[in-house]
């Protein structure tokens, strides 16, 4: 009845079934850098050598999801192959996938475009200037994309940024908003309500369905929210010719 974890030691990683059409390889039950690294590396290994019956794979914060065609592959065989791959190396210390890129995204911190910076800085025990220095020099990893098309979960910030979500929902923040909570940032694909704090604003588009690639960010990429002035960001937000929100893009592996 229950989907019993397949794990020799009774600990992580575990392989679990989601009905007939999904398998989930999880490296932890809560976020950690090694578990995310493991998920990204494991997914890259699956993508390098696609298996019959596996229709797509997707990493989340600490797991890899496999969408399978149950009529094209035997479930037990797939679980056994996954088990072999899991035990082949220490995924928690695996190198991150190749072809990753760093995006340096011009960002205005605070002002009326990102009005919750000062509240977040105070909660993190910093002045606004100190907060901007910490935030704008951090290189954050795209740990996963989801919730909205192309929308990255970015992490991790230092421990002082382990801020709880606000109790009140901000009714609407715009696309390109950089929002923050629980040592993570999210860069919004579309206007959306949120309980996270709106601390920065960019002209970055996560999802541009009529361009190639439609999704500029991939899991494992890095983003640095470089501080700029309000006018710069505002100008780019209105300019359809500005690509990637004016970001400098560099291949890092």
């Amino acid at each position: 009845m229950t989907s019993a974890p397949v794990s020799a030691s009774g600990s992580w990683p575990v392989i679990r079934s989601l009905g007939l059409t999904g398998l989930l390889v999880s490296f932890a039950d809560a976020f950690s850098e090694p578990a995310n690294r493991a998920a990204l590396a494991f997914r890259a290994a699956l993508e390098r050598d696609p298996w019959p019956g596996v229709e797509e794979t997707a990493p989340s914060l600490v797991s890899v999801f496999l969408r399978i065609d149950p009529l094209a592959a035997d479930h037990a065989d797939l679980v056994s192959r996954l088990s072999d791959l899991v035990s082949r190396q220490d995924w928690y210390e695996a190198p991150l996938p190749e072809g990753r890129r760093l995006f340096r995204v011009p960002t205005v911190y605070g002002t009326d475009l990102a009005p919750e910076l000062s509240e977040a800085a105070t909660a993190a025990g910093l002045s606004e200037a100190e907060a901007i220095r910490e935030l704008s020099t951090a290189r954050l990893r795209v740990m996963a994309l989801g919730f909205a098309p192309g929308q990255p979960y970015l992490g991790e910030l230092p421990e002082n940024w382990n801020l709880p979500r606000r109790t009140e929902l901000n009714p609407m923040v715009p696309a390109g908003a950089m929002i923050q909570a629980i040592r993570q940032c999210v860069l919004f694909s579309r206007p959306s309500p949120t309980g996270w704090r709106h601390i920065g604003q960019t002209a970055f588009e996560n999802f541009r369905p009529d361009s190639d690639p439609a999704f500029p960010l991939n899991p494992g990429d890095e983003v640095q929210f470089v501080a700029t002035d309000r006018a710069h960001v505002e100008r780019m937000m209105g300019d359809a010719d500005v690509l990637d929100g004016g970001a400098e893009v560099e291949v890092i592996s």
Partner: protein, 338 residues
């Protein structure tokens, strides 16, 4: 280019197809038609590919005109349909002369109807599909005044009909264990199977919410789970303990515990359950599920050979139509929906 002119459309009318699989890693769900089986049925009726785009009509259709002769087919939830005033048979193909008016009203049973045209709707392909996906900003509702381009029709018969799987009044959904099923104790899982649910009217292309009397299914201590990939069919237990079945346009990642997932072959039934209609959830074994999926695929593959002429003698058509209406072969419940 041939077009279908939309004079008026209900609020839930969109262009759909089989969606855009393959973008889970980038946060875009498959989307596409809620009742995928209906796309295969329409394709069988018109003798064309199931990938062609159709109009999905949630609850209510619209008023349409052909600017050139078209072949059409109607599938999914039966709706009140007339052709220049004459009633039309559902789950059938029809010839639509240039200038004629097709009027599609509310659903008679079920929830979502489909209008197919020979050659499919030839709207812009974006990321490999024509399906509108509103929460991703891909396309939008079809509005009055729209001229929908129609692709080249390979031509073929009209006046064909298909007996379809009855899935339009709720009923039993077969479910399988998912990733957090084991977090719910045996009593809770047994109660899930014993509960008489109804489809909550607050349901949409993203999620079908279940309504019920009595205690919910919330995990003790309100256990939080790390966000994971979610897919259509997954049954999340939200904060208030109510089960929610994720549908075609769900998000790609969610943090609510999942008590089970609906067998893919039963998703058309879920999608077609009208508001207030009964639903029950019934755990099956993976082997039973696999057998059901095989049978579902076989039935889909057999659709084309099950298409048959509506009538042999055209002179019988008016009589046959009235016979069907009076007999309730279309539905016995027209009065309730007027």
């Amino acid at each position: 280019m041939t077009a279908l002119i939309v004079h008026r459309a209900g609020p839930g009318v969109t262009v759909q197809d089989l969606g855009r699989p393959g973008h889970l890693a980038q946060g875009l769900s498959r989307g596409g038609a809620m009742d995928r089986l209906a796309l295969y049925e329409g394709a069988a009726l018109l003798g064309q590919a199931p990938e062609l785009a159709v109009l999905e009509m949630v609850g209510m259709g619209g008023e349409f005109e052909a600017d050139a002769p078209l072949r059409i087919a109607l599938t999914g939830a039966p709706m009140k349909a007339t052709f220049d005033g004459a009633p039309l048979i559902w789950n059938a193909s029809h010839h639509m002369p240039a200038g004629s008016r097709l009027s599609i009203g509310g659903v008679i049973e079920g929830a979502v109807g489909y209008l197919h045209v020979g050659g499919g709707f030839d709207t812009d392909v974006r990321l490999g599909a024509r399906a509108a996906q509103l929460n991703a900003g891909l396309g939008g509702p079809v509005e009055g005044g729209t001229h929908l381009p129609v692709g080249t029709d390979r031509q073929g018969a009209t006046g064909m009909v298909l007996d379809v799987a009855d899935r339009f009044s709720g009923g039993r959904l077969r479910i399988l264990p998912s990733v957090q099923t084991g977090f719910f104790d045996e009593d809770t899982r047994a109660r899930l199977e014993a509960t008489a649910f109804q489809r909550d009217p607050r349901s949409n292309r993203m999620a079908l919410r279940l309504a019920m009397d009595g205690e919910g299914f919330a995990l003790e201590g309100g256990l939080t789970v790390v966000s994971e990939v979610i897919v259509p069919g997954d049954i999340q237990i939200t904060g208030d303990g109510v089960p929610v079945i994720l549908m075609a346009e769900c998000q790609t990642m969610g943090g609510y515990p999942r008590i089970a997932t609906v067998l893919p072959a039963d998703l058309p039934r879920a999608a077609q359950t009208p508001p207030g209609a009964p639903l029950s959830l019934d755990f099956i074994t993976p082997d039973e599920g696999l057998a059901a999926e095989r049978a579902d695929l076989a039935a889909r593959n057999a659709l084309r050979s099950n298409v048959r002429p509506l009538v042999r003698d055209p002179r019988d058509i008016p009589d046959l139509l009235s016979y069907h209406l009076a007999d309730g072969a279309i539905s016995g419940h027209e009065e309730e929906h007027q």
